[in-house]
Amino acid sequence: MIAMTTEVQTRFAYALLDPLAGTPDNLATASGQGPGRRFEVYRNNVRSGLTGALASRFPAAVRITGEAFFRAMALEYALKHPPTSPLLLGYGSDFPDFVETFEPAAGLPYLADVLRVDGMRSHAYHAADHGVLLPAELATIPAEEVGSLKFALHPSLGVLRSRFPALTIWAMNSGEKALALITDWQGEDVLVIRPHLDLRVLALPPGGAVFLQVLGAGGTLAEAAEAAFADHPDFNLERNLGGALMNGVFAGLNKGA
């Protein structure tokens, strides 16, 4: 019994997303004129709704490419990967991967990483609330046990290792830094974190990304420090541990694990 209207909706839905599909023939207007322009209203609404959801999640990338380029790129993505859930807060988590191989954006090789910073920021904005580990709690741990400590990381945490100065470019396109020529073109590691309600986008010191990645994978403090040293000889454990504590990277000690 449900079949007839299901078919109507399937045809309508298909025609919304397929650029080559015509207007379904079961549609009409009261005045008797063709329904094409009217159907186009729904098509435009759907398209601008989906690309708009991406534009609001990735504002720095919009600034870099301009609105028109971004919308065209977002539309190609949205038609291939429309959302599968009415929860759009997380829509486009693989949009940076799409952009990385999107031919017309090949001249902006850093764009995907800037999108990743925007994406981590959006994740942190909506992430679960959680308290942070206080330095005083750490101070109670006997020295011989410190190396085997494991940490639960804050739910808002995001870490990115970029071959590009992604943080600097992001900051210049999100109003945090004035636009300027980047003379020192180097890779940057980025930390996004939201202790309480304070959203922070920061540069990680040398080895810092690996340090947090190992801790995030359940490694001990000693294992994380070792991996970070191996990654970069300038890794400074005290500085990284202090920075992590100060920015609320640790939700707590992971005693059970």
Binding site: N26, L27, A28, T29, A30, R37, F39, V41, L197
Partner: protein
Amino acid sequence: MIRNRLPACAGLGFKPEHFDAIRQGGKTPGFFEVHAENYMGDGGMPHAMLGHLRQDHALSIHGVGLSIGGMRDLDRAHLDRLKRLCDRYEPESFSEHLAWSSHDCTFFNDLLPLPYTDETLARVAEHIDAVQTHLGRRLLLENPATYLIFRESTWDETDFLAEIVRRTGCGLLLDVNNVFVACANHGMDPRAYLEAFPLHAVGEIHLGGHSEREDEDGSQILIDSHDAPVIDPVWALYAETIERIGPVATLIEWDNDVPDWPVLLEEALKADRLLARALPAAAE
């Protein structure tokens, strides 16, 4: 079943960019309305702001993603998210649309139209029963702004809505701008539409702005765009409606090109003035 209990005054859609202005302690509207889906993240600022507003304002939660008019089964996970949200904030009202937005695992992020047939009527009623049972709340169903008609339709929209109300006991959210837009698009008289509308079931009214686009023959298609002030003919229809049914919670919808807080507040005050004038009629 928790019933709609929004105060019979003007409300505004809450926009995060207005949070600081609202907190400064000036005049605020009688209630705030939010789109449910914007508050389905785990935590952070959205919930902090909503929690703060909730302390001293009535709240309406308005869903835009449940796809009640879809022929497929309701998204149970989404229904659970709505339940959690309603349990957390205990809104004075929960509303959704006579429309569909999901089909075969794709979410279209738009309110799409459905044919009005016996078959769709049965399906929509079934969905509303399921929502009301799951949430433990009476739902207000909103009349859509539409641009097309389906050859399959055998019911008038107003009769369709009246029958939904009869079968499910749900209430209605009367969007007067949608009435104006849809009637203009379908060559109908909005007063005749409102005459046929089951006004007894109205628990909330929406007012909003619309825009225009050119149709095939050069005439205008009205688009429900929520990006402008409410126009005078819509205010007039609104005033006539509340004169008939008495004061009812009224939301100003302005979701795109959102103006500064004082401009928005002024729209709400305008609705409040009309609501005050409708009071004597309601007392009769």
